[in-house]
Every structure is written in structure tokens, then in C-alpha cells.
């Protein structure tokens, strides 16, 4: 009985003491170091327009549906997609009728928007929703298929659009890790000339 009381007391004291260190001191030290060393990243890699309004985060995708803009991946975050306070995937499985219906519709829309042949292969990332619903990227293949549409809508040359795609493309990190990807928000902002580079 004595040991139970003693160990209970130690449990309570240890929880309080370690909470002060692990939940007070530790996050505050990390916060201080982060704000000092990487202030931009620690605050969300926010992008500002010329008049200092926040217009997004370079890490988070946004909705674009107009023909003038590159379209991001379908998103299941929030009711309208790309709700950055409600990250979520579709969580639809491989034999879901609902998923197949959506993909079928997206494939048809993608071919129509980009003036593709009725049997043209559509990039996988263009018609599937991402895990977070906030994927900032599309594949290069997807971007290049959209390029002619953007060029036409904005009356600029396809080469100019490709040059912008090139600037918004990140290669494999350190040459090895991950996949090549195009940041849609940065690309669209660059086309609009609305974000300071």
C-alpha cells in the first residue's frame, strides 16, 4: 500500500515537472530558434501581394477554375476544396462508385478544357484528389497539357508559358528525393505578375 501511494505521488509530481520542461520550455525554445533562423517558414511561408495583403502560402494549394489559370488537383478539403483549415483526402476506396463517377467526370472535363482528343490519356494527378486536399503541386505532364489553353486565353506564346512552368517547377530534392512537381499557385501568380518574386 505504501508503495502505491508513493508511486502515485511520484506520478503526479513527474507529470507536472516534465510538462513544464517538455510542453513549456521545449516548444518555446523551438519557437525562438525557428523565428530567429527561419522566420518566413515558421510563420507559414506566406505570400504577399505588392500592397502587403496576404494572398496565400507557397506551400498550400488554392482553387483555380478559370480558363486563364492553371488548374490544381481536385481537392476534398472542406466543402469547396482547398480549405486550409480543414485538410482532408476523399478517403474513397478503389472500388467506390462515387470515386469512379467523379474521375469519369473529371476526365471528360479535362479533355474538353484542354482541347484533347476524346481518347487522350489524362494525367493521374489531374483527376484524383490529393491526400491533404491542399496539394500545392501538379505533375509537369499535367502542366504541359494545360499550357496551350493558358497561352490562348492570355494571348501569349506557348514558349512564354513553358518558361513560366519551368520557373515554378521543383526538381527532385538534392537530385534524389521525391518527385518533380509544379507549384500551381506560384505559377498562376507569376502569370498574373501579382506576387513579388
Amino acid at each position: 500500500m505504501n508503495t502505491i501511494i508513493k508511486d502515485t505521488l511520484t506520478s503526479i509530481l513527474a507529470t507536472i515537472l516534465l510538462a513544464l520542461i517538455l510542453c513549456g520550455l521545449y516548444p518555446v525554445v523551438v519557437w525562438g530558434a525557428g523565428q530567429l533562423l527561419f522566420p518566413r517558414q515558421a510563420n507559414g511561408s506566406l505570400l504577399e501581394s505588392r500592397d502587403r495583403t496576404i494572398i496565400g502560402s507557397e506551400l498550400l494549394g488554392q482553387n483555380f477554375s478559370g480558363a486563364r489559370y492553371f488548374h490544381p488537383r481536385p481537392s476534398a478539403a472542406g466543402t469547396n476544396g482547398y480549405d486550409a483549415a480543414n485538410s482532408s483526402g476523399s478517403n474513397l476506396g478503389p472500388t467506390s462508385q462515387k470515386l469512379m463517377d467523379s474521375v469519369k467526370q473529371r476526365v471528360a472535363d479535362y479533355r474538353k478544357e484542354n482541347n484533347l482528343a476524346p481518347n487522350a490519356l489524362v494525367p493521374g494527378d489531374a483527376v484524383t484528389s490529393s491526400a491533404s486536399g491542399l496539394d500545392p503541386h501538379i505533375s509537369l505532364k499535367n502542366a504541359l497539357l494545360q499550357a496551350p489553353r493558358i497561352a490562348k486565353e492570355r494571348s501569349i506564346s506557348e514558349d512564354a508559358v513553358r518558361a513560366e512552368i519551368d520557373k515554378a517547377t521543383i526538381g527532385r530534392q538534392l537530385g534524389i528525393l521525391g518527385e518533380q512537381a509544379v507549384n500551381v499557385l506560384k505559377l498562376n501568380l507569376a502569370l498574373d505578375g501579382s506576387a513579388p518574386r
Partner: protein
Amino acid sequence: MNISGWIQLLLYIAALLLATKPLGLYLCRVLDRDGKTFLDPVMKPLERLTYRLTAVDPRQEHDWKRYTGAMLLFSLVSMLFTYAILRLQAVLPFQELFNPQKLPALSEHLAFNTAASFTTNTNWQSYGGEGTMSYFSQMVALTIHNFFSAAVGIAIAAALVRGIARHTAQTIGNFWVDLVRVTYYLLLPICLVFAIVLIGQGMIQNFKPFASAKLTEVVKAQVEKKNDKGEAVKDAEGKPVTEEQTTDTQSIVEGPMASQIAIKMLGTNGGGYTNANASHPFENPTPLSNFLQIFSIFLIPSALTYYLGRTVKNQKHGWAVWAAMFLLFFGGVMVAWHYEVAGNPNFTALGVDPADGNMEGKEVRFGIFNSALFATITTDASCGAVNAMHDSFTPLGGLVPLLNIELGEVVFGGVGAGLYGMLIYVIIAVFIAGLMVGRTPEYLGKKIEPYDVKMAAFVILVLAFSILGFSAWASVSKMGLPDPVSGVLTDGTNNNGPHGFSEILYAYSSATGNNGSAFAGLTANAPWYDTTLGLAMLFGRFAMIVPILALAGALARKKLIAASAGTFPVSGPLFTSLLVGTVLLVGALTFVPALVLGPVVEHFLMHAGKLF
């Protein structure tokens, strides 16, 4: 299965292999109360002060009963601590700073589920992350258990290894000393560095309210009209009325994320800051942050095999266990990778490029390979963080994480939990080997007697009993929330057909295995699910740890016997093969019928084009 994937896989394996010995040696010092480390100048005074303030005598070692009692009391107290914070989230002081989004308190069942989940190193997310937890809850209620449950796991593994290494001894260590030393010398220092590196990659760490970004393109969408009570408005025919909703801003999540994510990965906890966990671009911004996160999952578990070899003075045994883990890991990655690359034939039929694989629920920056690798690692270990949605994996790609959990997460495994789980299989393996040759089984100079085998068998049975029992119960009893329109109770699944069953099976596997990943379509935040899943977590953790500590006590008391020509060697390829075979046979066979009803049948139905 492209060359770039192979290079990344080799890089990962090489990094893990290189880190195993140095960190293993360091662990030997940390888990020895007199061990000297390079952190002594800073940490030793803090360690001494901690013992003094918490009334602990570090010189005193305890038998297994006292050790178990301390562990259970500590878990109970810290679980109540977390429960209280979650219930009081909306009324604690400094709301402006710590709860700028004015989030309400959690319901009783959600708070119970979450407190049980974090105490047991499960970190299942019935909660929604950014939309449920205040900064204070994230930073204190959740983070504290990320440290505690990891340290407790390592402490128990150390106690079991001591039990194996000692002979004719009564004690297996001092729980408080193990807890404090693991926290101060291992977890905290690595996390400090890791968290700052993660911020450098783009992870947030601040105390600001959510940012609001002005959208470049205003979004207009038709949404269901809701009345003041939040109910859907219906027209005369009973169809929901829609209205146009205009969205011109994006609300961007902020808060103290990096400090929590570092320990979430290193401690194989896996509970996300956000709902989307490590697929959220803030929670896993780059391929490098992804690599470091999966590296940190296996880092301590891998080093613990070296600690095992060193402590029992048979380094070859440590490496043989490592090799068995590695083979199971490698096999899992191959299967998951293969089937995710092969993709879904129903997508291909609709005109989707088959070269892209199954991209539903995956992020472009990680691609197929890193998603399959992450899914395998997070379930080999009891981590449960996800960088892709397992629910949207192909049937057999999704079978890998499910099976990994059901094997008991012994493939490197959770911090500590992986090693003690694997050592149970080692006991069973030498027992089977002993039966085959008709000798009393021996393990490292100790006779394995009925009591020991009973304890080991109990651990295996707990897993099967809880997973299959709860899954069967939930499958027939509609534990989900009522349908919002008809009011009829649902089973909470997001998918129909065999995939719906897989969602339920995965939930109880994940809860019992203390994993925490999910086929997340299941809406588990309902009173019955929250409660039964919480019970499965507690059962899966403590009904295993207690017999394991009893086993540690029994092994420590045994006399050493000299090895003879008939002693089965516990190192080398033969032993490794036997161990892998035992894990697969004993572990997997139990679950084959359930897996056939879920992922396996779905695989064939998918190829037949049958949709639900």
C-alpha cells in the same frame, strides 16, 4: 517501380544501417543509470533535480511487480491529466494566446478516446486536428504523451532485455530512472535539433491565430442550404435546397507544430497536428522532410536491436533480429509499391494514364514510391502518421499496412514496443524449434518453461482477441452516427462493399496495435466507436505490457545453464528464417480469414470492375 525509387530505398536502408550501431551504443549508456554521455554537463544536474523533486531514489532497483505498478500508475495519472485539459480546453486561462480559434471543449467520448489514444502511443485521430485542438491542447495535452508513451515503451523494452541478460536476479530496473533518462538524454535532445531542421523545410512554429489569405480567384459553389440550427433545408419534395456560396479567402492553419511533429515521428506516435497528418504541406513540406520523418520512425527501434545484442553479450543475436525485421520490412515495401504503381484498372478504363499509378489520396511531391514506403514504415512501426490516405490505396497496397499492424508491429516496430513484441516472437520461435527437435527450449542460456510460453502466448492472443472480437462486434452493430437525413444509425463507413469492412477491421487493428493510422473514411468520432476503440487501445497496450514485464521478471530469476551441442543457436540465417516464419505463421494465419473478406476479395472485385 522505377530507378529513382530504388535509389531512394537504398539511401534509406543505408542511412538506417549506419545509424544503428552508434545510436545503439548510446542507448546502452542512456539505459544504464550510471552511464556517461556527452550531455552530462547539461542534463546531469537536471536529472538529479528531477529525482529530488519527484521523490525518487535512483539507487533503488525494483522487481517486476513494482516496475509494472509504477508504469500503470504513471499512465493513469498522465491520462487523466490529458483528459482534463481536453475537457477544459475552452475555459483554461490565456485563451487569446492558446486558443485563438475559440475551439470548444471536446465531448466526453472524444476526450476519453484521445486521452487513451495518446497514453498508449496509438495516437488515433478521432479528433480533427486543426479544427478540434487548441494550441494549448496540442502543445501540452498531446505532446506530453508523445514523450511519455515513447519513453515508457523504451523503458519496458529495456526492462525485458535486462530480464533476459540477468540471472538469479530479483530486479529489472527502476521505472522512474528509465523514464527520466530516456526523456532527457535521448528524446528531448534529438527533438530539439529535428524540430528546427523541420522548420527550415517549411514547417510552422508560432502562436499566431490562423492567417487569412485573399484568394486570387473567388470560388463560387452550390452548397446545401442550412437553417440556423445547422440542419439541411429541404423543399416541398424533400430534396435539399442549395444556395450559392462565395469563398474569397483561405484560412491558413498556424500554431506550434514543429515541436510536436519532431517527437510525433521520433517517438513513433503519429498523431497529427492537422487532420491530414503528414500529408499536409505544413506537416511534411518537402521530400527531405519526408525522408527525415520516416528515418526518425525507425531510428530508435533499429538501434534498440543493437542495444539488445550488446546487453545480452551476443551481438550476432541482435543483428539476427535486425535482419528478420529488415526482411519483413523489405517484403512489405515491395508489395505496397508494386500494387500502387500497378494502380486501379478502373481508372485506366476511364482514360487515366496508367503510367501514373494510383494517385488518389497521394501528394505529387511524394509520388507513388514515397507514399508506399511511408505507409509500410509507419505500420511496421507503431507510428501511424500518414503521408497518403491508406483508405484510397489499392486493395493489396492497403493490405500491407493492415497486415503489418496485425503482425503486432514488430518490424522495427514502435519505440521499445517493436523490440519487446519481437522478443515475444523470439520466445515462441525457440519454443517451436525446441518442440521440433524434442528438447527443452533454451534462449540465451535460460530454459524456456511453461510459464514463459504462457505469457508469450497471452500477448499474441490479446492481439487477435481484441482485433477480431471488436471488428466482429462493430461489423454487426452500427456503431456510427445516425444518418443526418433519415436519422437511421449507420456503421460510419465511407465506402460500401468489402472496403467498408476493411475500414472497420483497420480501425480495431490500428487501435489494438497502438498504431493510429486509419482507413480514415470511417467516421469514428461517434460515442460507440470512440469508446470501443479507446478500450481496444488500452487493452492492446496494457494487457500486453503486463505479461511482458512478468516474463521479464521470470527470466531474470532463472539460473544460467551452459550451452551444449544441442542448443539452438539464436543467430545466423537459420534463426532469422525461423523468426520470420514464426511471425508470418503465428501472426498472419490468425487474420487470414478477415483479410480475405476485406482486401483480398476487393482486389478480385476491382479487377472484375465491380463497384459499390
